[in-house]
């Protein structure tokens, strides 16, 4: 069904939402064309394919657009069932994965507040990020670190799933965020499991290839911050 098909991903190189989709496509081994869109100068195609939200990423499959990154990930898993299963088959496991994927999304929103808020409010935003990391640390224990193990053995390119994708795209570039805002986000002592999970992920070739270049990304964050941009 997905054999002879045309897939185009409209994205922006710095967007973690876009990175999720890029990673999913590469993990599944699906060929696609990538079109870089500019934040300030959205092409008419974006407005045509996503009239309600007017955002990237948009995955256009045989001319039909799919929007919203998490929905695109589910679409990819359902349309191209071969290759690694992005979501488990069991309905209860699926519900848990969907829950934590949505929670990692909320973590990203808290990280954006870290960016948006002025120096005074930043303390509160950072506390919010740390609280979410604590919850995530407890929540994913049973998934990826059974019996209190500290090394995520499952982190192999053939077995990556939605939560690995979310973590790579959201926390993969954490060093750039820490440098840009001069804060500590991910502490190996406070979040040992998440720290080791992220470290394992960012070593993988597929994640390395897809990640935004550190210096370029840091430069962008600093530039946006200086020009008063808000996420």
């Amino acid at each position: 069904m997905g054999e002879e098909s045309k897939v185009v991903l409209h994205g922006m190189w710095s967007s973690p939402f876009v990175k999720r989709v890029e990673l999913a496509m590469k993990i599944k081994g699906i060929p696609f064309e990538y079109v870089e869109e500019e934040l300030s100068n959205k092409s008419p195609l974006i407005l045509k394919y996503n009239p309600v939200h007017k955002k990237v990423p948009i995955l256009v499959h045989n001319g039909k657009p799919v929007c919203e990154s998490l929905l695109i990930l589910e679409y990819i898993d359902e349309t191209w069932p071969s290759g690694p299963q992005l979501l488990p088959k069991d309905p209860y496991q699926r519900a848990k994965v969907r829950f934590w994927a949505a929670y990692i999304q909320q973590l990203l929103t808290s990280m954006a507040r870290l960016f948006n808020d002025g120096k005074e409010a930043q303390g509160k935003a950072l506390e919010e990020v740390h609280e979410k990391l604590r919850n995530l640390e407890d929540g994913v224990k049973e998934f990826y670190f059974p019996e209190g193990s500290i090394s995520p053995d499952h982190v192999l390119a053939e077995k990556l799933g939605i939560l690995d994708i979310m973590m790579s795209a959201t926390l993969g570039p954490f060093k750039a965020h820490e440098e840009a805002f001069n804060v500590k986000i991910l502490d190996p002592e406070k979040n040992p499991l998440i720290f080791s999970w992220v470290q394992a992920l960012i070593q993988l070739p597929v994640v390395k290839q897809t990640a935004p270049p550190h210096d370029k990304y840091l430069g962008l964050l600093q530039f946006l911050k200086q020009s008063g941009f808000k996420f």
């Binding site: 499959h61 929905l71 589910e74 349309t79 699926r94 519900a95 919850n135």
Partner: protein, 219 residues
């Protein structure tokens, strides 16, 4: 067979209503447990420690939180009766997108209508009507959002109809006259027993909103 199914809910919760409708559509027998909001029970904190919200679906002792996640769970477990999501991946993505729109727009703007004042409230009223008109556009001439059959987006959206009276009273405006197509669709849904039995009485919803307003110190 079905196993033990408990729905931890609150009468006026539009999110809880979604699950009541879905369980009724699937003919699943379940135990309904009412939370006395805004007070929250230790059991709720135990079942939903992260968000501490209703509804929580508890199937054979295992909790599923977040109404749209629980809705998909119900559809997947009891997949042979009245499927809510279509089988085609593209149509499923569309259905999920519109359900997400309901959460992002209808819910959030609706809440502002009863909890905000002055300019913020006026802006919320205007955007709320605009959101309903976008939904009317998506519905088009179809009887339901999914087409000929009652489905996922209909379940996600119809509970908000029971909140219209509260929105109208708090916002001092009329919704139905501005969105007649929406009302026609809502009345069609109300003809289904699963919906009419699951939706809260609009007067009781308004009473609940008054309790919330007092609790949050609004006005």
């Amino acid at each position: 067979m079905d196993g033990e199914v408990i729905l931890l809910d609150a009468y006026a919760s539009m999110f809880g209503m979604r699950l009541r409708i879905a369980l009724a559509e699937k003919g699943v027998k379940y135990e309904y447990r009412e939370e006395n909001l805004p007070k929250k029970s230790p059991f709720l904190f135990q079942m939903n420690p992260i968000h501490k919200k209703v509804p929580v679906l508890i199937h054979n002792g295992k909790p599923i939180c977040e109404s749209l996640i629980a809705l998909q769970y119900i559809d997947e477990v009891w997949h042979d009766k009245n499927p809510l999501l279509p089988s085609d991946p593209y149509k499923r993505a569309q259905a999920r997108l519109w359900a997400d729109f309901v959460d992002q727009k209808v819910h959030i703007l609706g809440r502002k209508i009863w909890s905000a004042k002055g300019e913020e409230q006026e802006a919320a009223k205007k955007e709320f009507i605009e959101a309903l008109k976008v939904l009317e556009g998506e519905l088009g001439e179809k009887p339901y959002f999914g087409g000929e059959e009652f489905g996922y987006v209909d379940v996600a959206l119809i509970p908000f109809y029971s909140w219209f009276h509260a929105y109208e009273t708090c916002g001092n405006f009329k919704i139905g006259t501005q969105c007649p197509k929406f009302v026609a669709w809502a009345k069609r849904c109300m003809q289904r027993e699963s919906v009419s039995k699951s939706l809260a009485d609009p007067e009781k919803v308004y009473d609940f909103v008054l309790i919330l307003k007092k609790h949050f110190g609004v006005e």
